[in-house]
Symmetry: C2
DNA sequence: GGCGACGGTTGACACGTGGTAATGCGCGTG
DNA sequence: CACGCGCATTACCACGTGTCAACCGTCGCC
């Protein structure tokens, strides 16, 4: 009732209310309740709840040398709408373990990251794309745990994406397959694994090896890439929907029919991909799966519980359009 | 050279190197340098620079009750334009005043914000969209400065956007103008001001009042909205590029020529907007302007220097396509 | 009955900072 | 020459937390 009425309650307030010393409060609330009599621990937890006690982040950070913040570096790509979903789930999972998620942006200069990390002293830094050497140095210098994107699981997931794209194309009768990368490799961290997934599926189906192109989101590059693939009769698995839309429009400019002459499948199911003519066939990725993976990685890196989740195709859903 | 070689330097390290007491260091570095002999102050600042001294955020926060973090709440909308650029500039401006920018995401539940704010005790919270009552309550309870979006400047900027869209359409000879909102008002916080901008420009040009539609990014809604505008001979200023692309594709499905029968102008210059057929005419917004506005608002709210910047059209650039 | 053992609890310290009361010093004046 | 006065510098405290060594009471054992 009077919870959180006034200023923040300190561990001393809890101690007074529970009739024990502050040291007891600290130990009970930090996982050492077994050192005390059960009724003492209960008194403490009850008092803490009654006061709505939340330990001061500043005090904790000062004493322990690192905060309870987990810094997630979001890539430069535009925010998909489902980022919010991802963020909410990761926040909830980490909050259950006492961590608080905050966001940073990966910038060209590491100075920003340096300042951010040295100020916040986060418990861990999580990224989607592999850390650069400079970034890794900054993190090491500040003694911060760097949580790499779970490359194994991630690669497995990406291979699944490529495989599913290829199988969709093959099931529609296409026999000459290609993979289209996003040219800027900085924005295409998952392309290699997806390309491999497409290749594997093609080989297993007894098709010839796939062809590979790369393009930036620019109509001239899309035209060039399409010409190199020698339509008609080409089926292209694309790194993302933007690449797919670029190629689709290039095909229209060249007078090729989609999907008759050029088949295209994307990835991400961006809103725009569902208003194109023809509507884009693409894959939707349930980010809650990625959130679980990310949270597990963080917890494991911090030495807490957390099993390595296996990549599951259940997070991938085929969005049927008319481009294959 | 040996700067930042090992662990963080403390104010004590600076004091030892400068040959003074720690309190002297604190006062000199906290704006009370005039209380000391010039050469003493110089010794301190020199030693601090040599060691790369940065005061511990935890220590400061513990002592002062609030941290030097500024929390920016990014809206749920797809963040058109270059978030990275905006983030970098705002970070730089705030860093010059000793503040560090971190990002949070606005979620439906305020619990996330509550936890974030109570943990971080930020110096200020900055948002793009007006705070809800619940959010404001959370901030007030935690004694945190809430920096409202500079609605006046923001509205002025949005009015400029609408005006520029309208003027572009008018200059191409279009006489029946419309504005297309994004249906989900939660994702369309700036639509009203932009619609007004279009309307004003139309009235000043002696044209009839504009028509207004709203649509989600879905082809059926786009078709419905287009039909309500009774082509041919309609020129549509759109809330963003996604809306514009949707309407362009709807026009193609209905057999209307773009821009002959239906003219469309977007906003944001998303990558995809430049590979459409025809290429979309749109506006590009230099986010550094918004960053300057945001930074000034924060500094003013914190009682520091900062003049209110006026909205300038210089931040807006017309990207010539072939859709008008 | 004395002594060691042991579980339960607590005082004391350190983390790094910012501010305030007090100290030392030098210099001018009576 | 002594005294006081102003100023540069210093000692100390508080912020809230986590942890360790030390303490205390009780029990078992010889």
């Amino acid at each position: 009732m009077t919870q959180a009425d006034r200023a923040r309650a300190t561990s001393n307030d809890v101690a007074v209310l529970a009739g024990v010393s502050r040291a007891t409060v600290s130990q009970v609330l930090n996982g050492h309740a077994d050192r005390f009599a059960p009724q003492t621990a209960q008194k403490v937890t009850r008092a803490a709840r009654q006061l709505g006690y939340q330990p001061s982040a500043a005090g904790r950070a000062l004493r322990r040398g690192s905060s309870d913040f987990v810094l997630a570096l979001i890539p430069n790509t535009t925010f998909g709408g489902n980022l919010q979903d991802w963020f909410e789930r990761l926040t909830a999972t980490l909050a259950a373990q006492g961590f608080t998620l905050v966001l940073g942006v990966t910038t060209a200069s590491v100075d920003v990251l340096d300042r951010l990390v040295s100020q916040m002293q986060p418990a861990a830094v999580l990224a989607f794309t592999p850390f650069s050497a400079a970034e890794r140095a900054v993190l090491a210098r500040n003694g911060v745990v760097a949580v790499d994107p779970p490359s194994a699981a991630r690669a497995g997931q990406d291979a699944l994406i490529g495989r599913l794209q290829a199988e969709t194309l093959i099931s529609r009768g296409h026999r000459r397959l290609a993979f289209a990368h996003l040219a800027d490799s900085r924005q295409d961290p998952f392309g290699a694994a997806r390309e491999d997934g497409v290749r594997q599926a093609a080989l297993e189906a007894g098709l010839p090896d796939i062809e590979v192109v790369g393009l930036a989101i620019h109509i001239d590059e899309a035209l060039g890439a399409l010409d190199r693939l020698r339509p008609p009769g080409i089926a292209i698995a694309c790194y993302n929907d933007d690449v797919a839309i670029s190629l689709m429009n290039a095909a229209q400019l060249r007078g090729w029919d989609v999907p008759g002459d050029v088949a295209v499948i994307g990835m991400d199911r961006t809103p725009v991909s569902q208003v194109t003519v023809p509507r884009l066939t693409t894959l939707e990725y349930d980010l809650s799966d990625a959130a679980a993976t990310g949270a597990a990685s963080v917890l494991r890196a911090l030495g807490l519980e957390g099993e390595a989740p296996t990549p599951s195709a259940s997070a991938l859903r085929l969005v049927e359009g008319a481009s294959v």
